[in-house]
């Protein structure tokens, strides 16, 4: 293995292909979007090149502020729910037999093969009044009559958590498998109950992994636009829903682009803040 940094230009050869891919499929589209966000919209048509801030100015309103706030809140809530469920689950998974681990991981990976549309419709059926689980509850006498659980905030949360949970487990799994099992045993010999040992030792030892997972699920959830529409009321629509609406149905590309750029900036700064806070605490 050579460890010295590349010396000549030719040493960068292996990077050409991935770099080109990144430029063509990521940098150019994003640059285009930034450019479009400053363009002027033409009524009833497309847009023409200009350099105006109108598009950004337009969403400095209470309405868009509320939608942005809700989008961020929803993404954080989904991330928190995923980590709250995912950490104990993955911990128990990593301590179970190899055969059980493989079965669970295959089941989780198969969820990843489902498209967002299928997940959305499956949950909307499952939570509906006519064919949903409440029929089962009514049958068992837990409920008086079947009722619709969707559209609602709970339905949006449930489906988004369901969709993001496999990713959560897959990120946490390697870290938890590597975690020294004697750490919890040591805590137990020192007088901590298994429950206390989990919160005292496992969770703090995984602090960085948990933070990284939170950030990843947050970003993943921020981009969701189908599930809020399928399972939520208009007040549960995220900024992504509005961006889609402006871009596709209102044909207002410059405004959609401006919102997208703004969303990227806000989420990047939040991630940066989280990483910075993590570093500070580590240094302390």
């Amino acid at each position: 293995m050579r460890r010295e940094p590349p010396q000549r230009f030719a040493d960068y050869g292996p990077l050409v292909f991935p770099a080109a891919m990144l430029v063509i499929f990521f940098v150019i589209p994003f640059a285009t979007m930034i450019a479009v966000s400053f363009f002027e919209r033409q009524q009833g048509g497309f847009y023409e090149p200009a350099f105006v801030f109108d598009n950004y100015g337009r969403f400095l309103s209470l309405f868009f502020g509320k939608v942005l706030g809700f989008s961020l809140f929803l993404a954080m809530a989904v991330a928190a729910a995923c980590v709250t469920i995912g950490v104990p689950f993955t911990y128990l998974l990593s301590r179970s037999s190899r055969a059980a681990q493989i079965r669970w991981l295959v089941a989780l990976l198969s969820i990843l093969s489902l498209s967002e549309v299928m997940i959305g419709f499956a949950w909307s059926t499952l939570l509906s009044r006519t064919a949903g689980i409440t029929n089962l509850f009514a049958l068992l006498g837990l409920m008086e009559a079947p009722q619709a659980l969707t559209p609602s905030f709970g339905a949006v949360m449930t489906a988004m958590t369901y969709q993001a949970l496999p990713y959560t487990v897959l990120i946490l799994y390697p870290a938890l498998v590597r975690l020294d099992p004697t750490l919890t045993e040591a805590a137990r010999t020192l007088g901590a109950s298994p429950f206390k040992a989990f919160f005292n030792v496992v969770v703090p030892a995984l602090r960085n992994t948990i933070l990284a997972t939170l950030i990843m699920v947050f970003i993943f959830a921020l981009g969701s636009y189908l599930l809020p529409q399928l399972l939520g009321r208009p007040q549960h629509w995220t900024l992504s829903v509005l961006i889609t609406d402006q871009a596709i149905y209102q044909s207002n590309m410059p405004f959609a682009a401006a919102m997208a750029v703004f969303l990227v900036l806000v989420s990047l700064s939040l991630v940066g803040l989280a990483v910075y806070a993590g570093r500070q605490k580590e240094a302390a």
């Binding site: 020294d180 004697t182 750490l183 045993e185 040591a186 805590a187 137990r188 010999t189 020192l190 007088g191 901590a192 109950s193 298994p194 206390k196 040992a197 005292n200 030792v201 703090p204 030892a205 602090r207």
Partner: protein, 344 residues
Amino acid sequence: MSGLILSNVTKQFGTFKAVNDVSLSVPDGTFVCLLGPSGCGKTTLMRMIAGLDLPTTGSVALGGEDITQIPTHKRNLGMVFQSLALFPHLTVGENIAYALRIRGVDKADQKKRVDELLGMIHLSGFADRSVNKLSGGQRQRVAIARALAISPKLFLLDEPLSALDAKLREAMQVELRQLQQRLGITTIVVTHDQREAMTMADTVVVMNGGEIRQAAAPVDIYRRPADSFVADFIGSTNLIPFRADGRGQASIFGSAVDGFSLVGAKAGTISVRPEDVQIVTAEGSSVTGTVTFIRDLGGTVETFIEAGGQQIVAVSSPRTRPNVSIGQTVGLRFDPETSVVLAQ
């Protein structure tokens, strides 16, 4: 009845018996080493004492109280793991204070005890350091101090020194033994290193195949091994087969040898330590062999002799080295006083 008492403890994993019907009594204040090759069940036995594994059958009692069903965190013991298992997110002081914090000891008393323990392990002033920035030996000491923070009745160490280099390991063995004697705490150490066991223990428990083969003082284990496994595992030895004619007359490699009283025995093995093998002239000796190799290590001289199709090693000091050369035929004498007859 005080001390630690294991009664007929068995641990079964599926069809495999990791520990098979082990009974052992450890009086208060003694230092016991569980010694054996890997897979002999010594770690499993210790984990059952700690409560990390439950015995399939049998019971564990401490200080007269049956603790078989008591969960680990209520046993008030101290344990040092092979991996040390220091909590990476806590400082040295927080690691040591962990057991006190769990028990709700107030902050000032915690600090006092931590300072006291840091003094004991010669790491005063290290309380605020990160455990990740310590050397191997320092981490070792912190793990010991953490386990002793509540002054437990029972101190367990699972291969505690295996991660240290040879020199540091020897120093820590002595230190650990002195610490144990000063505190008078009942201590059980799992190890596969017989030097370690001989250095530290009051009682060495030799295990193999999930069973105790012998439990005795180090010198007795060495001088009076109970069976060929113990004889071979502790130090090196020559295991020589013999036959007896029923009237007490023994023969080795087909030649009669005197001095061994073997009434009732028909065949078996005698264990002779290399330093007890005497090399004499071939004339007049009943057992003879051919010198195949001489290893002169400066401090000791090892002579390899082939006799009866078997290799026998004799060790002597340079001053008493036999005047022999490779290929020479020599006589061998085994002193009944220093040889041990092992049951077959």
